[in-house]
Amino acid sequence: MNELTGKPIDRVDGRLKVTGGATYAAEFPVKNVAYGVTVTSTITKGRIKNIDTGAAGKMPGVLGIMTSENCMQLHFPAGSDPGAGKYAEKDLLPLQNDRVFYGGQHIAVVVAETFEQAEHAAAMVKVEYAEQTPVVGFEKNALTAYKPASGLGGAETQVKRGDADAAMQTAAVKTDATYTTPVFSHNAMEPHASLAVWEGDQLTVYDATQSVMGVKALLSAMLGVPAEKVRVIAHYIGGGFGSKGFTWANPFLAAMAARQFNRPVKIALARQQVYSTAGRRTQTSQKIALGADRSGKLLAVKHATISETSFVDEFVETAGVATPMLYSSPNVDVSHELVRLNRGTPCPMRAPGESVGTYSLEVAMDELAEKLNIDPLQLRLINHADTEEQKKKQFSEKSLKECYERGAKAIGWSNCPAKPGLTKEGRYLVGYGMATATYPANRSASSAKATLFADGHAEILCGTQDIGTGTYTIATQIAADAFGLPVDKVTVKLGDSMYPKGAQSGGSQVTASVGPPIRAAALGAVDKLITIAIADPGSPLHNQKREDIITGNGRIFLKDDANKGEPLVAVLSRKGLDKIEADAKTNVSTRPSLPAPAPAGSPEAKTEEESKTNMAVQEDENTDRSAYAFHSFGAQFVKVLVDPDLGTIKVDKIVGVMDIGKVMNLKTAVNQIKGGMIFGLGMALMENLQYDPNNGRIVTRDLVQYLVPVHADIPEIEVQFIDRPDLYISPLGARGIGEIGVTGMAAAIANAVYNATGKRIRDLPITPDKLIV
């Protein structure tokens, strides 16, 4: 047991991916497929008076044009559990009426024999609008901000502890500044794509999604098709970063068009359609006030965020979500407000809340350290939160001080100039910066099926998906350990809603959620096998005690006498069985925004699938989950070189030391954290989606204009892990790793730039034009 888990094995799907053998949503070879291209609005707000499809409809290869005039009716999905799928724009079901709420909104779908024909015809569709004056500009409309009732899944958005205003009066040292962040795009390499196939009343949708289960539930509800008649497949996903966590119009448009034109229909969005219709990180303005005594101890923390959302749904970027928890302070005041603009709806993007929230809070801490004349790292140590002070709980495991210590050593923190703007290496100003990283550890109910076959190989089925993070690999390692088989004898199948319900790939929860049921199912199958062997006079293990038997190297054997035992396959063949199966479900959730699990025995506790398969619901060893606060932490350290004349920034080295529980696979873990850190670097220095200040439509239309870091921007990156298992989250000890790498990075870079130049840029991204002023 536990021989493979944690080992840095290569990705099991690596070869398939680099050889093009991995099939993504738009690539499934479906016979007779037709191509859908959407026509998008060229106004920002108004009504569609007329869509003239006459000329376009007659063009070669065109099968038809779907508009609000002729498309099928959709129903709004009931329920709001994000685990069951979240349709992103509740007041804008695709093509259901003539209203336009933002530029680039889908308003028609041209379906043709080829992609080129569909695209050409789409350009020929003539739309007449009754244009209305849109609400344009975030800053301009800040006065219209309102307080939302709650955030995603009911998350609290207004949090108070003590009396921050009163405490601020008594604070000896204060900072008060506003930090702004632009709109960011997830820019997953694979644009959103859906391929819908109807076979009679059975619908299959190949979709680029972070939740096959969510899309299935939504398709069923919105199209009015029974759940058992809907199947969603996403074997490989080319990145999501949150953009494929909510479900957007694309799978519905494909399914609607496929039914209407009686052909399989594929819709793959263009990059600019992804920008306008498939989510983004909202713009924020965050006012942070910190008050401390002379020793640096925080007395008050105020974090007021304004972000923006659309007119068709409400999404709150909870920038202040970590603020009540991150440092020890008796008084905290966190608020969130929203402005509505005529833009597409924002959605979670890698570390929603914490990414932009740690930028502002951690720059504010740097500013406070300077006013106090205390080393910024020392200020973090002075204010270290030993407990979760808002929820008044112990942390399940927290090794943040060790992260600081290791990170400081790796970057050479002692070289950090005490006074900013004075130290040079050659012509460049040198600066060091640091920040705290944090992300909660989530876990939700998941299930898996394990099968041992007579030919000696084993299979796991789980209805989660691998969005590029390494889930296939980690699941294989966990299962192989539990089966006692080598990795190449275990096949993990994910990304199919026919499989037992697995977690959505969001909130850094997949490993913690699906690891336990995968392990439990595999152990369950082995246990059945051992039970058969013990009862079988033909087995060398006949009448042995169950607890004396273990598995390994494809055998079951006595733990004290490895020679006494037999291959797994021998048990099956002797009994003439072609396979042995086991199901498992772990029914836990630590995500505070999710409803508590239904009590065992209540009708809600069993899903449809469970009742059918009579699946055992397993609880973990530790059931007292509510006693602890589950958070990962880390420390980000950065060294930058700034050209003082040209304002160009070269990030020279970055170090991230992460405390994320047990590392399941060092290779994929380092990869995840590095990717997150680069995500943060892009956020700090270049990423920026612009809207036209006059008409509010997107100006930044593609990857020529939306800059993400290229290799030449990426410095040496050092990633370290504390690698201390968190046994309160699950027996596997892993807390999830997908998002924490982003957090703190933008602040660490901004702080390093300040240390180098003495210029405090409080508006991301930090570009040369801002530094030469």
């Binding site: 050409h120 600019q272 040209l646 070269k650 204009q705 921007d713 570009t767 030469i772």
Partner: protein, 327 residues
């Protein structure tokens, strides 16, 4: 994309014959024209593939100049030993543009013809006089951080995107073209047009004319030259500002200079005024600053791009400083 015919032509006369008809466009590397066709900004009825033409040579001329065939790939030009030795600014300019993959496809002639990356030009739901003459310019009152500050008009502030062209402008290259009526030699400064009231007219090439080669005139002191590009990321990004400079320094005095700027002009921006300021001055920061102030004298900022004036000056001062230090 509008459907189109695609033909390959074997030689220059055939290319010229094909060019005048059917709203034809030449295609060589295709790194820009295909993007524009996909967006229905360029709508040729016929693409004339000229890759079979014998225009691939880089020839050193008797007079010390170099003749570059129009189909010479950007990579081949940048890495050519004679170019690196005689015109380092050109090699550096090309290598600072695009990515290795693009430079391996993009050609010398194509680079001369590439069109602006102004986002409003690419977004068909915005007004753009370059794309639809008379429709207006959304960039002037829009988001214009990347737009030009020199050579602009009330009708267009689109930046010329090329790095290669900035170096060629500094060198005073000559563009040789061939058409139905014979050959012409166009001085670099006359090749690209200012937007004025007709931003859709970008160059002075007739429909049936094909660029055959570019002649780089002899300029001994261009061996002491440099191209500096400032941008938002380290590679694969257009210039915020750039400068191509060459200095002829003798006995501690600048005898002659070449100065061109990129990222700031509606065309590759040579500043003869800055060159004249430098001439006769000692190669020091004060001289360079004076030249920079002169080069940007006529700059007209918009809402988001005023920084370009200061940044361009600093870029030019740095480029001149670096060049002055070349031994």
């Amino acid at each position: 994309m509008q459907p189109f015919k695609y033909i390959k032509v074997p030689d220059t006369p055939a290319a010229i014959r094909a060019a005048g008809i059917n709203q034809a466009k030449f295609i060589a590397g295709g790194t820009n024209v295909l993007d524009l066709m996909k967006l229905d900004i360029e709508k040729p009825r016929q693409l004339v593939d000229i890759n079979q033409l014998s225009l691939y040579k880089i020839e050193e001329l008797q007079n010390g100049g170099i003749r570059v065939g129009a189909l010479v790939k950007n990579s081949d030009l940048a890495y050519n030993p004679a170019i690196k030795k005689n015109y380092p600014l050109l090699s550096e300019a090309i290598l600072s543009g695009a990515s290795p993959q693009l430079r391996n496809m993009a050609t010398t002639g194509g680079n001369l013809m590439q069109r602006t990356r102004c986002p409003y030009f690419y977004s068909t739901d915005f007004a753009c006089n370059k794309r639809v003459p008379g429709s207006g310019c959304a960039a002037i009152s829009g988001y214009n951080r990347m737009n030009a500050v020199l050579g602009t008009s009330d009708h267009c502030i689109a930046t010329h995107p090329s790095d290669m062209c900035v170096a060629m402008a500094a060198l005073g290259a000559v563009i040789h073209v061939q058409g139905a009526k014979g050959t012409r030699a166009i001085p670099f400064a006359d090749f690209h047009l200012l937007p004025g009231q007709t931003p859709h007219l970008e160059h002075n090439l007739k429909a049936d004319e094909l660029i055959t080669h570019v002649e780089l005139p002899p300029l001994a002191y261009a061996a002491r030259s440099h191209y500096l590009k400032v941008r938002d990321r380290a590679s694969y990004e257009f210039a915020l500002t750039s400068a191509a400079v060459a200095l002829d320094i003798q006995n501690g005095i600048i005898k002659a200079a070449r100065v061109a700027l990129g990222g700031v002009g509606t065309k590759p921006w040579r500043s003869i005024a800055a060159e004249q300021v430098l001439t006769g001055l000692p190669p020091n920061t004060a001289s360079y600053q004076k030249a920079a102030d002169t080069a940007m004298l006529d700059a007209k900022p918009n809402k988001d791009n005023a920084y370009k004036i200061e940044l361009a000056k600093r870029t030019l001062v740095r480029a001149l400083t670096t060049t002055g230090e070349i031994s």
